[in-house]
C-alpha cells in the first residue's frame, strides 16, 4: 500500500461560520479554525456564497489566511485566494475576464496549510506551517455585500 504525500487525516472538519454578512466596501471574517495539524496537510474550504444584488463592476475577494497561533499574533499568511463578482470587476484587478458572474453558489477552495512568502528579492523564501485558518471576505462597491458560510472539510 502506498500512501499519498501529506495525506493527513483531518478528523475535526466542521463549519467555521454561517450567515456572516459583509457590508458593501467592508472586510469580514469567519471564526478562526484549528486544523490541529502541526505538519503540512491539505484541506478544503467549502464556501456557500450568496450575493443578492449582482451588478457590473463589483467584486469580492475571499482569502483563506493561516497562522501558527489562534490570534495570528505571530503573523498571518495567504493560503488561498479567489475573486468573485462581476466579470468586469474581476478583470479590473486581475486582467482576466471570466464568462459570466462569479456569484451565488457553492465553491470548493482547495488549500494547503503551508504558507510561502518572501520579503524581498535578496532574501531567501520562507515557509510557515499554519495550524489555524480563517476566511476573510472583502467587498468592493455598493451592492457588493454578500453572506456566506464556510466549512472546513477533509480533502
Amino acid at each position: 500500500m502506498v500512501n499519498k504525500l501529506n495525506d493527513v487525516t483531518l478528523d475535526n472538519a466542521g463549519i467555521i461560520d454561517v450567515n456572516t454578512i459583509v457590508a458593501d466596501d467592508d472586510v469580514g471574517s469567519s471564526d478562526v479554525y484549528d486544523l490541529k495539524q502541526a505538519d503540512p496537510c491539505r484541506f478544503n474550504v467549502r464556501l456557500n456564497w450568496f450575493w443578492p444584488n449582482p451588478n457590473v463592476g463589483l467584486y469580492q475577494v475571499v482569502t483563506v489566511v493561516g497562522g501558527s497561533d489562534p490570534t495570528f499574533s505571530s503573523g498571518y499568511f495567504i493560503l488561498h485566494q479567489q475573486l468573485f463578482g462581476a466579470a468586469d470587476g474581476i478583470s479590473t484587478i486581475c486582467g482576466v475576464t471570466p464568462a459570466g458572474y462569479r456569484g451565488s453558489g457553492t465553491y470548493v477552495l482547495p488549500c494547503s496549510n503551508v504558507a510561502n512568502y518572501n520579503d524581498g528579492v535578496t532574501t531567501l523564501p520562507s515557509v510557515r506551517i499554519c495550524r489555524y485558518v480563517q476566511v476573510w471576505v472583502y467587498t468592493v462597491g455598493v451592492n457588493s455585500a454578500v453572506s456566506f458560510a464556510a466549512l472546513v472539510e477533509q480533502q
Binding site: V65, F72, G95, V96, P98, Y101, R102, N116, G120, W136
Partner: protein, 160 residues
C-alpha cells in the same frame, strides 16, 4: 533498517508548464502566455483537484507593485466557450495586497516557490446555470505598478 516512505509514486496524470519570461510592468497575459492551444493543458472532463507549482525568480515587492497570476479553465481547447476563473495567486507588497484584495499578509510575497491549489469546477453565479467542469486549463498574468515584473516557471500537477 530500511526507510519507510509515505510518498505516492504514482506518475502524475498530467503536467503542463508555463513560462512567464521577463514580463514587464503594467502588462497583461504576456511572456509565454499566447492565447493559443500550445499552452493549454487537458486534465480531463471530470471534477479534479490540481496544483499549480510556481517557481518565481523575479517579481517586484516594491510598495507600488503587485502581480496576479490567474488559473483559467474552459470546456474547449481554444477557450472559445468562455473563460472560467479557477484560482489566483498574488505577489507583491503586502500592504498593497491588503489595499487591493482586502487581506494584507504579514510579509511581502516575493520570489520563491509557491503552490496554488485549484478545483476545475466553475460556476457562472446564475441560478439557472449548471456548474461547468473545465477540462482545459491555462494561465494568465497581470502586472500592476511602475516597476512591476514577473519571471517564473509554473507547472501543473494533477491531484497534488
Amino acid at each position: 533498517m530500511g526507510y519507510s516512505s509515505n510518498l505516492d509514486t504514482t506518475p502524475d496524470a498530467g503536467l503542463g508548464s508555463w513560462v512567464f519570461s521577463a514580463m514587464t510592468a503594467n502588462a497583461t497575459a504576456a511572456g509565454g502566455f499566447p492565447a493559443n492551444t500550445a499552452n493549454v493543458l487537458n486534465i480531463g472532463n471530470v471534477p479534479t483537484d490540481f496544483s499549480v507549482f510556481a517557481s518565481v525568480y523575479t517579481v517586484s515587492a516594491a510598495s507600488t507593485d503587485y502581480t496576479v497570476v490567474s488559473v483559467m479553465g474552459s470546456t474547449t481547447s481554444d477557450f472559445s466557450s468562455g473563460n472560467y476563473v479557477l484560482g489566483h495567486i498574488v505577489f507583491g507588497d503586502g500592504t498593497l495586497i491588503g489595499t487591493t484584495f482586502g487581506a494584507a499578509p504579514s510579509a511581502d510575497r516575493g520570489p520563491g516557490h509557491y503552490t496554488v491549489r485549484c478545483h476545475n469546477v466553475a460556476t457562472t453565479g446564475l441560478e439557472s446555470t449548471e456548474a461547468v467542469v473545465c477540462p482545459y486549463i491555462r494561465l494568465a498574468a497581470k502586472t500592476v505598478g511602475a516597476t512591476s515584473s514577473l519571471n517564473g516557471v509554473f507547472t501543473i500537477s494533477i491531484g497534488r
